[in-house]
């Protein structure tokens, strides 16, 4: 009877030993290779620091001008440009300018990294079924594993600061772009591909001139999702010492400062909406050029 009511558990001391051995093995690993890995990421850190300083020290009208210019180039919509200008002005007016710039800097770098890793990965997945079968479960894991769990090893390996924060954000934000690149390329019309093959296109030509252009709207949806998820991670990243809008939110949560939390939370929302609308409009305009209706 006892067998059914009591779950067969590993013996307590053995379990403790098991956990300890994992902890110690990782600690030895991080002691041995932590500095090397850290040095590997140094160029990235310098770039991040440089970008953040540049954005913080540039006069604010120039930054707002650049952001509005980018929004205009992406969307060609006056409404969005005006909205961006107003929200950035309000963010600055409520004293969140520096934090906001730090967040924009790290999110920008994150999205660039996610794109440079994610799009090639998506292409590989689209070309090989075996790659898809192996990568998909990893992506599932990356999206569902609680971020605090991988914060611990990142912290042990790289300490606190921008680079570990960046890695934490990327782990969470990169899956959608991989998934949607894969999906977009796989969804390209078979007959179109056959036609290109009939004209003797090489694999690379096929990819460059047929598959990627036709998949672009879906890829853009992936970029969009990546931006959103990166912004959602800003608060978690602040827990390992990333400056930005997440820090005041943490302070607000721990001290029940309603207004402080609300302001900074809304600032993140504003950033998200501006990025989202600009990217969406850009994607739609690309489709228009190609005469595809959806």
């Amino acid at each position: 009877m006892e067998f059914f009511t009591k779950f067969p558990v590993m013996e307590r001391s053995a379990l403790a030993e098991f956990r300890k051995s994992i902890d110690f093995a990782f600690r030895d690993f991080s002691r041995a290779y932590g500095d090397g890995i850290e040095a590997f990421f140094d160029p990235l850190l310098y770039f991040l620091v440089w970008l953040e300083k540049l954005m913080m020290n540039s006069p604010w009208p120039i930054i707002i001008g650049i952001i509005c210019g980018l929004a205009w180039m992406a969307s060609k919509s006056w409404k969005l440009v005006l909205g961006a200008a107003i929200s950035f002005f309000l963010i600055g007016y409520f004293g969140m300018w520096k934090d906001c710039m730090a967040t924009v800097a790290i999110i920008t770098v994150c999205v660039i990294i996610c794109m440079t890793i994610g799009i090639p990965m998506g292409v590989i997945m689209a070309r090989s079924n075996r790659a898809e079968r192996t990568i998909l479960p990893v992506l599932d894991m990356m999206q569902t594993i609680p971020s605090f769990v991988y914060l611990i090893p990142i912290l042990m390996l790289l300490g606190i600061g921008k680079v570990p924060g960046l890695i934490a954000i990327c782990i969470y934000a990169v899956p959608p772009i991989i998934r949607l690149t894969n999906l977009g390329i796989r969804e390209v019309d078979k007959e179109t591909i056959e036609a290109s093959e009939a004209f003797g296109a090489t694999k690379l030509q096929k990819l460059r001139t047929v598959q990627i252009p036709l998949a672009l709207p879906t890829v853009f949806a992936g970029v969009n999702q990546t931006i959103m998820m990166a912004l959602a991670m800003v608060v978690i990243a602040s827990m390992i010492g990333v400056k930005g809008l997440g820090v005041p939110i943490l302070r607000a949560v721990l001290n029940q400062y309603l207004a402080l939390g609300l302001f900074n939370g809304l600032a993140i929302v504003a950033l998200a909406i501006i990025f989202d609308r600009a990217a969406q409009e850009y994607g739609r305009r690309i489709q228009k050029h190609r005469g595809i209706k959806r």
Binding site: R27, L45, L151, G159, G161, K162, V247
Partner: protein
């Protein structure tokens, strides 16, 4: 017949209970708070074992935390004892409760060498031996010893995570000691895990580290953190309470000061005195954990992921010469036999 039986058995029961009461030599039922951090868990469990085995008390542990436990002891008179009450958190109400004789401070310093403040890692001393014996004021002249990874021209001082009370204190001290001008950056580690991460990272790689921490903790014990004297005296409660502990905007002229003294007490209620008896109170008054032994136990708990009850047994086995002095020789024998 029946009635006779009942009376008889009742008499037997009565006699039995009164007999056991005599055997307990005046110690009855006690409720002790087991607060939710390592050192408090350990102390509560050691008290439980010693009072039960040595003095024949019947001890029940109830979970607790600084504020709820104190409020309950103050208002309802239960639990009977809080082995580790951080007194600054309950400064005013405790004064009232003591003056009204509802609560007694049985032990003013159950742990020695505790407190908050600024610390350096042993790796720092290895790299810059001249730092030994330096005060914070002197260390602040050398930001180049602690380069900030993200801004290597300046020194990194690791403060408190956003939202903690000590974050305000560190930010104001940062101003008071003119650290900005001296070339320091105040690093916000973001969370307790982040703060601990900076220490273990720096210690593991032998890099210098300078920042805020507190004692007793397993981190201090594990990495042998060295407290740094401030080099100035405590500049008064008024400066501390009304400026240093306030948000940056509300503290225009913070004065240079040492960290406020932390006080930990073992508090007991009147019912502990009544139920526990003189000997139990005498034990609580005597038991003092030296800081390094407490830290050693905390490291043991962290390394083995041990609960308070396991750690208490380990403590009693390992440090007999220490707790042997807290109890009478007859109690010591009984405790040893009971382990």
């Amino acid at each position: 017949m029946k009635i006779k039986n009942i009376i008889l058995s009742a008499l037997v029961v009565l006699g039995f209970t009164s007999f056991s009461g005599v055997a307990n030599a005046g110690c009855g039922k006690l409720v002790i708070a087991e607060q939710n951090w390592a050192s408090a868990e350990l102390m509560a469990n050691v008290d439980k074992i010693i009072l039960e085995k040595g003095y024949g008390c019947e001890v029940e542990l109830v979970p607790g935390a600084t504020m709820p436990t104190f409020t309950s002891m103050n208002d309802k008179g239960t639990p009977d004892m809080n082995p580790e009450q951080w007194a600054n958190a309950v400064y005013e109400p405790l004064k009232v409760a003591v003056s009204e004789k509802r609560i007694f401070v049985a032990n003013k310093a159950p742990i020695t060498g505790l407190g908050e403040g600024w610390w350096i890692t042993p790796g720092t001393v290895e790299k810059y031996p001249q730092i030994k014996g330096m005060t914070a004021l002197e260390i602040l002249e050398h930001p180049e010893w602690f380069p900030d990874k993200e801004d290597p021209s300046r020194g990194a001082f690791v403060g408190c995570p956003a939202g903690w009370g000590c974050q305000l204190a560190n930010a104001n001290l940062f101003v008071a000691y003119e650290m900005e001008k001296k070339g320091w950056n105040l690093i916000d580690p973001g969370s307790a895990a982040g703060l601990d991460g900076t220490i273990s990272k720096a210690s593991d790689s032998g890099k210098p580290w300078f920042g805020y921490y507190w004692n007793p903790t397993s981190m201090v014990g594990k990495y042998g953190l060295i407290p740094v004297p401030f080099g100035v005296d405590f500049a008064g409660r008024d400066n501390w309470d009304n400026c240093i502990m306030k948000p940056a905007g509300e503290c225009a002229n913070p004065k240079q000061t040492a960290w406020t003294k932390s006080e930990v007490n073992s508090l007991i209620t009147k019912s502990f005195v009544d139920n526990g008896g003189k000997e139990a109170v005498a034990y609580v008054e005597k038991r003092t954990y030296p800081g390094d032994i407490m830290n050693g136990m905390l490291v043991y708990m962290a390394d083995n992921q041990a609960k308070g009850s396991d750690a208490a047994v380990e403590f009693l086995k390992k440090h007999e010469d220490l707790w042997g002095k807290w109890v009478s020789s007859s109690a010591k024998k009984k405790i040893k036999a009971g382990l």
